[in-house]
């Protein structure tokens, strides 16, 4: 397939001797939203953290196998460079408390000491905030600390921060888990807008959310990939019994 932006091949992940993920094979198409679904402890967050090489930050973490970003193995490059190209948004909103909103959005450049002209950074900040659907709400308060924002707004600020780096892929690790229903639906709307211009991988244990936002869904169960397919297909006619049981609420 021409449009595969990310390929995961025969991938294993470990903490010490404990195997978290085994033999994962997946292909992600460019500019779509993919959700990774599964009960807690199934390894879905680990898989996500392997994609931008955050998994290896744990002391005893190790991996086996390949993850190819546009055909190049990400484990052959500097992790820093991979993380700049694959943005991540976390479960709890985590804007930098010591920076104002403007600096938060541009943080990826500042922290990597990438020099920008004022006009360029202004443009990036505005564009990213518009994409994250936050511009209208903060345009008059750009130089205030980001911590006064509501949880949902903070999370969108984090999305803007990730988008500012112009990543190829955006990873969302249960990004709505700590938000109220209103904010959650706003973020979901945002994902549906963004997925036409960027590849988005969403980890969630919320079945309905996966159905609402993603084009493809992968179902993980105790470290194994059980099923992967178009979201519509997987939800209506699951091939595996475990997928069906999970979707119908028998466990998880």
């Amino acid at each position: 397939m021409e449009n595969d932006i990310l390929k995961i091949e025969n991938f294993y992940a470990y903490y010490g001797t404990i195997c978290i993920l085994q033999n994962i094979n997946l292909r992600f198409t460019k500019n779509h939203a993919i959700s990774i679904l599964g009960p807690s402890g199934c390894g879905k967050t680990t898989l996500l953290r392997c994609i931008n090489r955050m998994h290896e930050l744990a002391d005893d973490a190790s991996i086996k196998g390949k993850i190819l970003l546009s055909g190049k193995d990400i484990y052959d490059t500097e992790p820093m460079l991979i993380r700049r190209r694959i943005g991540m948004v976390f479960q709890k909103p985590n804007p930098f408390p010591t920076m104002n909103i403007y600096d938060n959005v541009i943080a990826g450049y500042k922290l990597n000491s990438i020099k920008l002209k004022r006009s360029e950074s202004d443009k990036i900040v505005e564009e990213s905030l518009i994409k994250a659907d936050l511009w209208e709400q903060v345009r008059d308060n750009l130089y205030k600390r980001g911590t006064f924002l509501s949880g949902g707004q903070q999370q969108r600020l984090c999305i803007a921060r990730a988008l500012a780096m112009k990543p190829d892929i955006l990873l969302l690790d249960e990004a709505t888990a700590s938000l109220d229903p209103k904010a959650t639906s706003n973020i979901e709307k945002l994902i549906n807008q963004l997925k036409h211009s960027i590849t988005i991988i969403v980890v969630t244990h919320n079945i309905a959310q996966a159905a609402r936002v993603s084009d493809y869904t992968a179902f993980l169960y105790s470290g194994e990939l059980i099923e992967f397919g178009k979201t519509g297909d997987l939800f209506t006619i699951p091939k595996d019994k475990r997928t069906e049981e999970y979707l119908t609420g028998k466990f998880g």
Binding site: N52, M54, L57, D59, M80, L81, I82, R83, R84, R85, G87, M88, F90, K92, N94, P95, F96, P97, T98, A107, G108, K110, L111, N112, S113, T147, C158, R161, A162, M165
Partner: protein, 280 residues
């Protein structure tokens, strides 16, 4: 049964009263000390007292050399202590599980308990003997050693309060580890770290024992780090134990200035703690 309950309640009341009385008694010495220092010290302090050098007995001198000396000692000590303590604190947090971190942790606890006079002896052996002279430098090093454990601990504890999610956010943006630590984690902990530094300065500002055979004291103004220097606590000690009532009076004035200095620093640290507090 009724009677027993009464007895128990009376016992409880009595205990409360005794506890309250003992607690109130704590305030008394504080009141006395402050009262004496303000009463005897305030009359001594004027512009001349602060800005002129000590004069021989019989003439009215000032304590400018001690004020400048204390400032020099504290300034140099802070410059020496901050980089070592800050990086040690960061090491303890970032390599928490390492053996060295455990050793550092228990040795800083130990260093905090070492009597200050002992640190004076050691700085005498390390610096005064080789240089063949009491000096500003040796006094500053002694104070710096005393500041170390306080700053290391406050740095470590403030860094521990910074949630890991911030570190992850920064790393996920592709920021190298050292930049993540210095530009995200340390700034997030900065109010706690600076509070610790100010508190440690206020603690050593009043130290005398480690300066007795390092900074030694000097009746003149000194700006040379290889020469002895005066400090407020040293001046108070020398004047208070002198037989001249003029000098004893001046010691009260110097005490009041020292207390104001120390209290101002404590107050500053309190304000830092409340106003600059980072919310995550």
């Amino acid at each position: 049964m009724e009677k027993r309950l009464k007895v128990r309640q009376i016992k409880d009341k009595l205990f409360t009263v005794v506890m309250a009385l003992f607690s109130i008694a704590i305030i008394l010495p504080l009141f006395f000390i402050i009262f004496y220092i303000v009463r005897n010290g305030a009359v001594e302090i004027d512009w001349h007292f602060i800005t002129s050098l000590p004069k021989p007995v019989g003439e009215i001198g000032g304590i400018s050399n001690a004020i400048v000396g204390t400032t020099e000692l504290i300034g140099i000590a802070t410059l020496i202590a901050i980089p070592i303590a800050l990086f040690t604190g960061i090491y303890m947090k970032e390599f928490e599980k390492s053996k060295l971190a455990a050793v550092v942790s228990s040795l800083t606890d130990l260093l905090q308990g070492v009597p200050s006079i002992v640190i004076g002896i050691v700085c005498y052996l390390w610096i005064v003997l080789p240089l063949r002279s009491f000096s500003l430098l040796s006094g500053s090093v002694a104070l710096a050693i005393m500041m170390l454990p306080m700053i290391i601990k406050s740095t470590y504890h403030s860094l521990k309060l910074v949630p890991d999610s911030l570190k992850e956010a920064s790393l996920a943006l592709g920021t190298p580890y050292y930049r993540t630590v210095m530009k995200v984690i340390v700034p997030a902990a900065s109010s706690g770290i600076i509070t610790g530094i100010i508190l440690s300065i206020s603690r050593v500002a009043g130290e005398t024992a480690p300066l007795l055979f390092t900074a030694f004291g000097n009746p003149f103004m000194n700006l040379n780090i290889t020469k002895p220097v005066n400090s407020l606590p040293l001046l108070i000690f020398n004047y208070a134990t002198s037989p001249f009532s003029d000098w004893q009076k001046q010691a009260w004035g110097a005490s009041l200035i020292l207390i104001i200095m120390v209290s101002a620093l404590n107050l500053a640290s309190k304000i830092m703690e409340h106003k600059w507090k980072t919310t995550y």
